[in-house]
């Protein structure tokens, strides 16, 4: 209201330049409506080993982390609604519908409110959202370049780290992009666990990025995550369920480099992406009636490269690697449940993707997965389409 009164007044003051005053009425009234978009995807998955046998020895992984179902299956569909609430707030919610009949129902993947600038580069985000911990973590799975998560994401987070809580970030007033932030969460999502009367987990993130000339750009991120009182966090051991209680810390580094001739990515572009995570845990493990104190050291990284050589075709390669060094007082127990393992999981992936337009993608991916005892050959055929409002893509 004030806005249009003000501009009308300015119009009146501004000499005889009247035609503009008739024109300034805002035309994009429909931006008042929430932007709604629907992501549909489905896949065909074939591999050599039973998906139930899938496990990552040496990692206390999230029980939900696995290969997904074999054969034809409906992937997760997502419905996202977002809009500016008023000049101060933006809100977004994403509901996901699992195609798996056993897990049928809608889940709240995201539901957050974010400020639109509090001054001094500060922003606050509240609700449920994907943590800024890690480059890929902040993106929705459908925006990923491969059909499955990097092994290290699967091992440490169960694919993705969600936050129920608060994020405060500051965009520093520097010529070069620098962002600093802190997150506090209830600590109920893996790799934290339990009920906390307050902050159960917190994290820090720092991102820096810039261009090198017109054609090159990059971003580097450093992250730290900590949960001090993890209670009875469940993982799947070789023979029984494991419960971890104690302290968990993760440090990580991510780096992304992009190239596009003259900074125009539509016809041709290249991306190089690297992430490294390091987890330390101290506490104790409970397995049935047995127990052990426990010190876990686990590391993992992946490197991927993507080349889009014309507007429709992209090829990508990825290499994943994990290693662990876990100790505990009850060595027999840790060995029996394959928590102490010489296994150094690794995986090679090759991907080819075709885009019908910005809104439809068909992808073929092959993995040679040496992340557990037997080597596995995995093949994905995957489609991803989006309808509704035009989504904006993260860097």
């Amino acid at each position: 209201m004030n806005r249009s009164l003000l501009s009308a007044a300015t119009c009146a003051l501004l000499l005889g330049v009247s035609p503009l005053c008739a024109q300034t009425t805002l035309q994009n009234k429909n931006s008042l409506n929430p932007a709604i978009s629907l992501i549909l995807n489905g896949r065909y998955f074939h591999n050599d080993v039973s998906t139930d046998a899938y496990r990552l020895d040496g990692f206390l992984a999230n029980p939900d982390a696995g290969l997904g179902s074999q054969g034809l299956s409906l992937g997760e569909s997502e419905l996202t609604m977002s809009a500016n609430v008023d000049p101060r707030f933006f809100a977004q919610t994403t509901l996901s519908f699992d195609g798996d009949p056993e897990a049928a129902g809608a889940g709240v993947e995201e539901a957050f409110v974010q400020t639109l600038g509090l001054g001094s580069g500060l922003n606050v985000k509240m609700g449920r959202f994907f943590s800024a911990m890690g480059y890929l973590n902040e993106q929705h799975a459908h925006a990923w370049d491969f059909s499955d998560a990097p092994l290290v994401y699967r091992a440490l987070f169960g694919n993705q780290l969600q936050v129920d809580g608060l994020q405060v970030s500051a965009l520093l007033p520097t010529d070069r992009f620098m962002q600093l932030g802190v997150e506090a969460s209830s600590g109920s999502h893996f790799p934290a666990s339990g009920v906390n009367n307050g902050v159960g987990a917190w994290s820090l993130f720092y991102n820096i990025g810039d261009d090198w000339g017109l054609s090159h750009s990059w971003q580097l991120g450093l992250n730290y995550w900590q949960a001090d009182s993890v209670m009875d966090r469940q993982s799947v051991g070789l023979q029984s369920d494991l419960l971890f209680s104690g302290k968990s810390r993760i440090g990580s580094l991510d780096f992304v480099y992009k190239w596009a001739p003259n900074g125009n990515p539509i016809n041709q572009n290249f991306k190089l992406q690297f992430e490294y995570f390091d987890r330390h845990e101290e506490g104790n493990l409970q397995v049935m009636q047995a127990a052990s104190d426990y010190r876990g050291e686990q590391r993992g990284w992946y490197l991927e490269g993507l080349y889009q050589w014309n507007p429709q075709w992209t090829v990508g390669v990825r290499y994943d690697r994990l290693s662990s060094d876990n100790r505990g007082s009850n060595g027999a127990l840790l060995a029996r449940e394959a928590i102490v393992s010489q296994q150094q999981p690794q995986r090679y992936s090759l991907m080819l993707s075709w885009a019908g337009s910005e809104f439809s993608h068909i992808r073929m991916q092959y993995n040679r997965d040496d992340s557990y005892q037997q080597g596995d050959n995995q093949l994905f055929l995957h489609y991803i389409v989006s309808v509704g409002s035009h989504g904006a893509h993260q860097y």
């Binding site: 806005r3 933006f90 922003n123 965009l171 003259n262 539509i266 904006a392 860097y395």
Partner: protein
């Protein structure tokens, strides 16, 4: 704790690096044409950064870290609007942590909202490609609409920086008088283009063709935003084989492959037209350059 000390170093850096406030209005222009217009109208009262260059397709820009750093410090956003930047600007705005330039604020200026748009689709369906519901956003090739945008932008600059009202007003008058003179000169020189026909790559020439009386006979993209396919190109060829167009036109940022294919078949000149001015080029110099390209091959 190591983490705590590094945190305090970063925080200290944050407070030390707050730059001294400048009196100038900092303009973030999504496309170079709006950067050029802002420089023209804002003069020494503004500093301008362009988010893109003429070699980049403004539909498909990545929300790069450098753009987030630039938009954070802007007082005024000058963009095309009408969904041209829908794939990246909303994300930049959300990441900008800058309340002054959000939609509805005085620092949020969309050129396409200041004029009547052509090509408003009767049907919004993506079967028709990447259609812009508000109408065709590529208004920069209509000098009369540019004039309307200039007036509105001056009003907006005055709203933001009232203390320099006299300067803005004088600069607008100066711009308009030289612009109008140039436009009538261009119009008389371009008389011989009237009725000339062209095949275009993307439907982004409606304003230029309606201004100069050019006729678009076919588009190389089967649907806006869908890359030219072999089958569609064959269809275009059969359409224009007999009645050959005068030019084949594409924007400087588009791949020339499809144009070259057609040009080889029908032996007609390709015009690779700069869709925006160069980094520090004035609007007038850019219009001269564009018109010069057409006149050079028109007989």
């Amino acid at each position: 704790m190591k983490y705590q000390s590094s945190l305090s170093v970063v925080l200290l850096g944050f407070f030390l690096s707050v730059p001294l406030a400048t009196a100038e209005v900092r303009v973030f222009a999504c496309e170079p044409e709006w950067g050029a217009l802002s420089r023209e109208l804002g003069g020494s009262e503004v500093t301008v950064v362009n988010a893109t260059v003429a070699e980049q397709d403004p539909h498909h820009i990545q929300a790069r870290p450098s753009l987030i750093a630039k938009i954070r410090r802007a007082d005024l956003l000058v963009c095309t609007g009408a969904e041209l930047e829908v794939g990246w600007l909303p994300l930049l705005l959300r990441k900008s942590a800058n309340g002054a330039i959000q939609p509805g604020q005085v620092g949020h200026f969309m050129a396409a909202e200041q004029v009547e748009l052509l090509g408003k689709p009767a049907l919004i369906d993506r079967q028709l490609g990447d259609v812009h519901a508000a109408g065709n956003p590529h208004i920069q090739f209509d000098p009369h609409r540019l004039e309307q945008v200039a007036r509105a932008l001056t009003a907006r600059l005055i709203e933001i920086d009232a203390s320099h009202k006299a300067e803005y007003t004088a600069r607008l008058q100066h711009f308009l008088s030289s612009w109008q003179k140039a436009v009538s000169a261009w119009e008389s020189r371009a008389e011989l283009l009237r009725g000339k026909t062209m095949v275009v790559q993307h439907k982004s020439w409606v304003y230029l063709s309606s201004w100069l009386g050019l006729k678009v006979v076919a588009a190389l993209e089967p649907k806006p935003g869908i890359p030219p396919s072999g089958a569609h190109l064959a269809k275009v060829l059969s359409l224009v084989k007999k009645d050959k167009p005068d030019f084949i036109v594409h924007a400087g940022y588009q791949s020339e492959q499809a144009s070259r294919w057609l040009a080889a078949k029908i032996d007609r000149p390709i015009l690779s037209v700069p869709f925006s001015p160069a980094e520090d080029e004035s609007l007038m110099a850019w219009y001269e350059r564009v018109l010069g390209l057409f006149l050079a091959v028109a007989k």
